[in-house]
């Protein structure tokens, strides 16, 4: 019951945020230098005066601002994100076609980075004073400082060009016509490089956070209590320290979801992964602003979904919130 209400509450909040983004988008178009009609047209037909006039009428650009805003908002409420004049397809259809690929990529990278980050971080905490612990932290710092797109490019050079182990572009082998299990394996093979390079940076963040959080938790009084019971060190690490240390990491993971979606833009661009990130790059290249703003809206929606999930997980993990004090 509590959960139903919680989810409803979060959804309500999400609607408010998305609504604010719509308004934000609207004013961005207004603020942009030049003719909004030209921007909506993606500068495609910017020279064709008749086409622009047609656009102005269609979007009511000759109307007062509040009428325009109303049309814009009510349009989006009915999932009408406008038309990509460059590609000749409604923006919504374009984005929906690309969404699954992005979900697959970011979802995989999210799980991968969390699992590996927590593992590496707890290892580093347990060996805080040993060289192996320092090595993990040095690597984490290195990954943290490396530009995502550059790692992606270099991994293409290394794994595709020189070692010829993994495919460098796309999501499927073009023209292979795989089905069933073969298709799954083919996609998985294409997924390895993009997901790993995207996960690397976040893994570094979670590693650092896990270590810091565990070292802090190990200073707490309840750890001394656990030692006074005569518990084994490994049990104390797992049951008392790690469990408490995970709480701030869940919060962090929620906050990082936005970064992850942003990172996907770069990764998808480098690997020609057919998701909304790649679509965003194409929109940029073609100055297709209407599509750009549509993608922006959906990437925010994606982040909100991630946030709600981490919020629910946090509530499962911490009894103090669950039983409402």
């Amino acid at each position: 019951m509590l959960y139903v209400r919680l989810i409803l509450m979060r959804l309500l909040k999400a609607v408010v945020v998305l609504f604010m983004i719509i308004i934000f988008n609207f004013f961005l178009i207004q603020m942009a230098p030049g003719d909004p009609a030209a921007i909506l047209a993606g500068e495609a037909g910017a020279t064709d005066e008749a086409f622009l006039r047609q656009l102005r009428e269609r979007f009511g650009l000759d109307q007062p601002l509040y009428v325009q805003l109303w049309r814009y908002v009510s349009g989006i409420a009915m999932l009408d994100f406008g038309y990509s004049y460059r590609q000749g397809v409604p923006v919504f259809d374009l984005i929906m076609a690309r969404m699954p690929a992005t979900l697959l990529l970011t979802g995989t990278a999210f799980v991968l980075s969390l699992a590996m980050g927590i593992f590496a971080g707890s290892l580093a905490a347990a060996r805080a004073k040993k060289p192996s612990g320092s090595l993990i932290m040095a690597l984490a710092l290195l990954f943290y400082a490396t530009p995502l797109f550059w790692v992606a490019l270099m991994s293409v050079v290394l794994f595709s060009v020189y070692l010829d182990l993994l495919p460098a572009y796309g999501m499927y082998t073009v023209g292979a016509g795989h089905t069933g299990l073969a298709l799954v394996l083919d996609v998985a093979k294409h997924l390895i490089l993009p997901a790993t390079t995207l996960a690397l940076f976040f893994m570094a963040i979670y590693t650092r956070m896990t270590r810091a959080s565990m070292l802090e938790a190990s200073q707490q009084d309840y750890v001394k209590t656990a030692r006074a019971k005569g518990l084994k060190n490994s049990v104390i690490q797992r049951r008392h320290i790690l469990r408490n240390a995970l709480l701030p990491i869940i919060t962090l993971a929620g906050l990082q979801a936005g970064q992850m979606v942003g990172g996907a833009i770069l990764t998808e661009t480098v690997f020609a992964w057919p998701g909304i990130g790649r679509l965003m790059y194409e929109a940029l290249q073609q100055r297709d602003y209407n599509l750009l703003l549509g993608i922006f809206f959906f990437s925010a929606a994606l982040v909100i979904v991630f946030n709600i999930i981490t919020d629910l997980v946090y509530r499962l993990a911490d009894p103090r919130i669950k039983e409402g004090s």
Partner: protein, 541 residues
């Protein structure tokens, strides 16, 4: 006392424990020898920094990082604990030696159910199976007197009170019936009445099981209450060691005598009254409710911190507000200085309405009531020199910088810290910082000073000095004081009148002598009875 006096269960021989480099001294404990016998309670007493807990930690094998036993031995049942490997030591912990700690709020894992945390002790030593462990945990919770043990076993720590958590800790420490129980300041963080209950429980369990108990405390009152023998420590060395009765009645060492004398309960308040009858502070029907913000998911909660509180304070008088945590005594103090705004009632200062002042008007009147705070470490801005810290107030009310600083110097001299105005707070001890806090309050020449637990964070010997200073200043400057404390003994020493509070209401008020010697209300009697060592010392006096 014990029939096994010849072979001690635990015997420390010339134990030394070294601190890491850069600490304020090389050894935490220096050449310390004492024994603990089966069936007795040995109290190890000392002020902060005396090294009283260190030996216990060495016995448990739980010394902090960088600290290590550097000499001597710790024989437990004939076996030198200092020579054990971590693994061997682990098999003793919880099984033959149990330990309870000071902070019940943080000593339990917040994410684990209480029952599971107790069951863990059996698991650690491979005893019983899952269901039997839970059954045993329930029996233990019943034994330590937790209300509704069948519910408590499934509770998380945050759902229990401080006293209940300490009972859980005791249940955990006693689960495997250890021969030695180490209790490290187990009642310091608790209210007096809860403290009395926990002391009673420990004494009772110790007698029933014939355990040896090593009880670490800073409070001679607690010693009088529970100890068979006592070991007084100072600066890492033993000052005095002997039977509790003898040490308490005939302390041989000056330091021990000073500690015992510093306990304010040896003083029976004199009959005294204020010299004037001009009402300075008038409080009538004061109410304050704290509301936690509700949301869609939690109901808004209301705490009635003050309910219909009325009293008045005449010029030159000192009133003590006494109560346990949650009694509303601090809220009352914060309302009087207007850090909080009461919801309703009257609050008048020399006849002017002090309650409804707001914003700029309030800011201009603030100098009339000042406060001395509890935590000497948090009450001074670490980035300001103390001279500036004191001068800030007068400067804010328009006095020239030169005059304000001159005044600050004067006041520092008055509180016994002359010539220190260009130093930073971290260069002072806790007691000295409290003196600076007093000087800062005096700088505003207030009509009334509210002291909120002003000596609670200090060692007893320092407490006595600060109380003396306050007494002296009262005489010199004819101050009016509202003295808020949880400690009846402290209140009795310095106050003319005492107000006892519980659950936001005034339970009893009267002259200090009356309240202390002939309390009218049951709750006041309960509070007085709960003071550890009270009977003992009154008999002495």
């Amino acid at each position: 006392m014990t029939d096994n006096h010849t072979t001690p269960l635990l015997s420390l021989r010339h134990l030394s424990i070294s601190l890491p480099k850069g600490a304020d001294r090389a050894l935490a404990v220096e050449d310390v020898s004492y024994d603990v016998y089966r069936g007795e309670i040995l109290c190890v007493v000392g002020e902060s920094g005396s090294g009283k807990s260190m030996a216990a930690n060495a016995v448990m094998g739980l010394l902090p990082k960088g600290v290590r036993a550097s000499g001597g031995e710790a024989l437990f049942d004939g076996q030198d604990l200092l020579k054990l490997s971590e693994k061997q030591h682990r098999t003793l912990r919880g099984l033959r030696i149990g330990m309870i700690f000071q902070e019940p709020m943080t000593a339990l894992n917040p994410l684990m159910r209480v029952g599971d945390q107790i069951a863990e002790v059996f698991e650690a030593h491979g005893r019983l199976n899952g269901r039997e462990r839970q059954k045993k945990a329930l029996a233990l919770l019943t034994e330590v007197g937790i209300p509704q043990p069948d519910k408590a076993i499934r509770a998380y720590p945050f759902q229990l009170s401080g006293g209940q958590r300490q009972r859980v800790m005791i249940a955990m420490a006693l689960a495997l019936e250890p021969e030695l129980l180490i209790a490290d300041e187990p009642t310091t963080a608790l209210d007096v009445t809860t403290q009395a209950q926990i002391l009673e429980l420990i004494r009772d369990l110790q007698r029933r099981r014939g355990m040896a108990v090593m009880f670490i405390t800073h409070d001679f009152g607690v010693v009088a209450e529970v100890a068979n023998r006592v070991c007084v420590m100072r600066h890492g060395q033993i000052v005095e060691l002997g039977k509790a009765q003898e040490v308490l009645k005939h302390p041989r060492h000056d330091y021990t005598r000073a500690l015992i004398e510093a306990i304010p309960s040896n003083v029976i308040p004199e009959a005294r009254g204020a010299e004037t009858d001009t009402a300075l502070l008038e409080v009538v029907g004061l109410n304050k409710v704290f509301r936690s913000k509700g949301g869609l998911f939690k109901a808004a909660r209301e705490v009635h911190a003050l309910q219909d509180v009325s009293f008045s304070l005449v010029k030159g008088e000192t009133i003590g507000i006494v109560g346990e945590s949650g009694s509303g005594k601090s809220t009352l103090g914060r309302c009087v200085v207007r850090l909080e705004r009461p919801d309703s009632g009257t609050l008048k200062l020399s006849g002017t309405d002090f309650m409804n002042l707001q914003g700029e008007a309030l800011r201009r009147e603030r100098h009339r009531v000042q406060m001395i705070f509890q935590d000497p470490y948090a009450s001074l801005n670490p980035r300001h020199r103390v001279g500036y810290a004191i001068a800030q107030g007068p400067m804010a009310s328009g006095i020239s910088k030169a005059q304000a600083f001159a005044k600050a110097k004067e006041l520092l001299a008055l509180v016994g810290l002359g010539g220190t105005d260009d130093r930073y707070p971290h260069e002072f001890s806790g007691g000295q910082r409290q003196r600076i806090g007093i000087a800062r309050a005096l700088a505003m020449e207030p009509e009334l000073i509210v002291a909120d637990e002003a000596v609670s964070a200090l060692d007893v010997s320092i407490q006595a000095q600060i109380l003396e200073l306050l007494e002296e200043l009262k005489q010199k400057l004819s101050l009016s004081l509202l003295f808020i404390t949880h400690d009846l003994r402290v209140a009795a020493q310095i106050c003319d009148r005492i107000i006892v509070m519980q659950h936001g209401r005034i339970v009893e008020q009267g002259s200090a002598r009356e309240v202390f010697l002939a309390p009218q209300e049951a709750y006041t009697r309960e509070l007085l009875d709960a003071i550890p060592g009270r009977d003992q010392e009154l008999a002495n006096a």
